[in-house]
Subunit: 67 residues, 6 copies
């Protein structure tokens, strides 16, 4: 009954891509640890680029600088 | 000073129901562990059904199949 | 399929008390939102008092001062 | 490569203030533990006042009572 | 710069298996969303079976019943 | 009543250093957003280097390679 939380920046990820993340993360737990997929939970959090920081600055600021 | 995080799917839960969750979770910590309610924190996260997966598929897909 | 995370200080909580927290948190989601208990997940994190801060100081320091 | 998550109530915090939180939290890890700022991640979650509880009631209710 | 958190029960998972989880979760973000693996962070939490509940009871209790 | 969670690798951080992190994170919320320190909560999680991955490999493996 594993639990996986994936945090990504909110930048228009489609429901299809999210479904792929859910499928892939669940399969990973099956393949590596033999977990039961029926009780594996995956939660995707989309975070605004203003609210995500790396290197001491927001992703919004980094994108403007081409980082 | 416990901290409780409750994650549920975003499906129109009313402020009254959320207040019940906050009250109930706080009371649980008082009843079971004798914690001080004044410093007990409860945070409710509502997650889109596209972003929540169980059994390798999104809750959106499961709902369509009547699961 | 809700997910509940309860964080408490690590101070010798017994397995029986933990079982009560699991039972109570699951029942809360059943009572308030009609959730299915079979797919409700509860995770309890026990945190060392050195690693938990309130009011700008650790719980270890607060306990020594009788707070 | 530390990870910092800051949860605050959603009450109109500006991108400038968020940038200050990101800068400050990153600097704290540099100053105290000598961590590399380039690989320090900060995520800010803004939580609706209906979804945040203290003392067994929501922040929305507390604000109405002038708490 | 995604962040992935994997929670599993603490039951003797080897460092090799953990390395596979880290590799697989990172690759998933590369494959599905084209993320940069260099800035993808994965954190694995191992949770005692007394501290993990499903269906209103601890995993410890479920294992004893052969669930 | 903000909540701050700091995750660092488990590598012998002293209680004094943890106290500095708690003090600094609390002060940051006071300085930037005018929050009340009395109700600001800080939780530090120390994560084994086997359980923390960056760039698709564990911190344990990276340290061996001098990264």
């Amino acid at each position: 009954m594993p639990y996986v939380n994936i945090k990504i920046t909110r930048e228009g990820v489609t429901p299809e891509k999210k479904a792929e993340l859910i499928r892939g993360a669940t399969q990973l737990l099956v393949d590596v640890l033999g977990k039961n997929p029926a009780t594996t939970m995956v939660i995707i959090d989309e975070v605004d680029t203003d609210n995500w920081g790396v290197g001491g600055e927001s992703v919004t600021a980094r994108r403007k600088q081409g980082k």
